[in-house]
Subunit: 204 residues, 3 copies
């Protein structure tokens, strides 16, 4: 039951991440191969960085689920190109669900590998937001999340919520659920109220 | 005998990859050090990504052959700068031989590490085409192979040929030879007939 | 005593590297999160690449020292933004000390892992100069050290000095000290006399 829910969220999140990459690739006139690579990278890039740093085999190399999801995303963008704009709110929601799940996965895997909690939060943040950074680098753009959106900070706050909850001795499924909830809430509130982090002033 | 042939192809391919990186670096006014780094990255970058993902030591760290080849490439570009344009067809052919060999190496190494065939094809493709992507990122350009050329798709088709041949029980040297042949044929035909993958339409 | 000196240099160098990343991020209007990530990447990126290639856990994942230093760097830039230009000479010196120490660390770690000396020099160079390359990629710029400055070459020359000294059988602390001295001397002389590597001529 819980496993089914996680699989569904994983599918939804991977699809949404890949679609964001493919749409942004299409605005740069990438061909089908390039668009697929950017989509896959957006979906699995963060988890790949995490696994390499944890000294583990990247998760997608033994499970074709993620590459197939990205293929579905490519077909979706090709078929429903014109409807995508109208579906923006749905995809935003799916992307947020993915962000929350990927953060939780990243934190859990890092804790299980025996690292301290602050390392786990960084890895959760990297799992959630790293794919988007690689996507923008492949597109030749400055990473969006460094300038415009409260995105990675939602992962950090979710991770902090997990840490606090665990410190107070909450039983297992409470802490990761709260973490996911905080990620989603922060992201929704930030977009709703146009919240941004302050921009660092330059020295001119 | 077979080993000698592979070493020659490895030398030719590494040289051609490094020269492509160094030439493109020179068009951005890189200094000698920068040009060498871009050349080396083009030559060994794909295999390095593969080895990191396979959890192995990057191949060039225990064998100075590849760094020396890249050094020869740098000297070549400095000495024969004006002749390079006339040698374009030769270098294109050498680059294609390298692409085929690197694809075969990547697939073989991944299969030997016990991964499924679809993972091996991805790794073959990454070994062949990954260096060019890193080269373009270091030059601050959108990767060429995402937009203009049938390059990585040749690796994918070569890998598929290997897979099919192996599934029909062909004895060992047949499958990788066919794979190399398909990579070379697809690449030559694509350039000869100006074949391209369709560009993904944007949402204007 | 020697350990204290190394810790102080590590602090100074990390601070200087992070500040260089944060200042360059601020010129691109990054928000506080983005600026911190670029600062951290500048400080730890080179060593992370090295550790991944050596098959080891990235050094900062088990020691919060480096992330805290980068946090101090962020606060410093926010508080003393206007004084930073006047402090340029100091930060240049600190950056050079960091470059020397990181080069030594990289060479030492690689030799201890059993690699040949030429690999160690490359890893020393990557430890010292790799963070700056990643910093520029994250900012969407062509890496500065490929075009303008004698930076990575100072690491290479320092590594060569270590190699020579060790080959003549000098006792342990001599070779790394000389290496650090050469890195600092080359960097200072290059800036003082505006030395540059020749630019590779393009094919127009």
């Amino acid at each position: 039951m819980q496993d089914t829910l996680i699989t569904i969220c994983d599918f939804i999140g991977t699809l949404a991440f890949a679609i964001s990459g493919i749409r942004l690739a299409s605005s740069k006139h990438f061909d089908l191969f390039g668009a697929y690579v950017v989509g896959v990278t957006t979906a699995i890039g963060g988890g790949t960085l995490r696994d390499l740093m944890l000294g583990q085999t990247p998760f997608w190399m033994t499970n074709s689920f993620y590459l197939i999801c990205s293929g579905i995303a490519l077909v979706w963008v090709m078929l429903f190109r014109k409807q995508l704009v109208r579906q923006n709110n749905t995809w935003f929601l799916f992307d947020t669900i993915g962000l929350a799940l990927f953060t939780v996965t990243g934190i859990e895997k890092t804790l299980q590998a025996g690292f301290p909690f602050w390392t786990a939060i960084i890895m959760g943040c990297m799992t959630g937001a790293g794919g988007g950074v690689l996507r923008d680098i492949l597109r030749g753009e400055v990473p969006l999340i460094f300038r415009k959106e409260v995105y990675a900070m939602a992962c950090v706050l979710g991770g902090a919520a997990w840490w606090l909850t665990a410190a107070f001795g909450a039983p297992y499924p409470v802490a990761p659920s709260l973490c996911a909830g905080v990620v989603i809430a922060v992201r929704l509130l930030a977009v709703r109220y146009k919240l941004r982090l302050p921009v660092l002033k330059g020295e001119e």
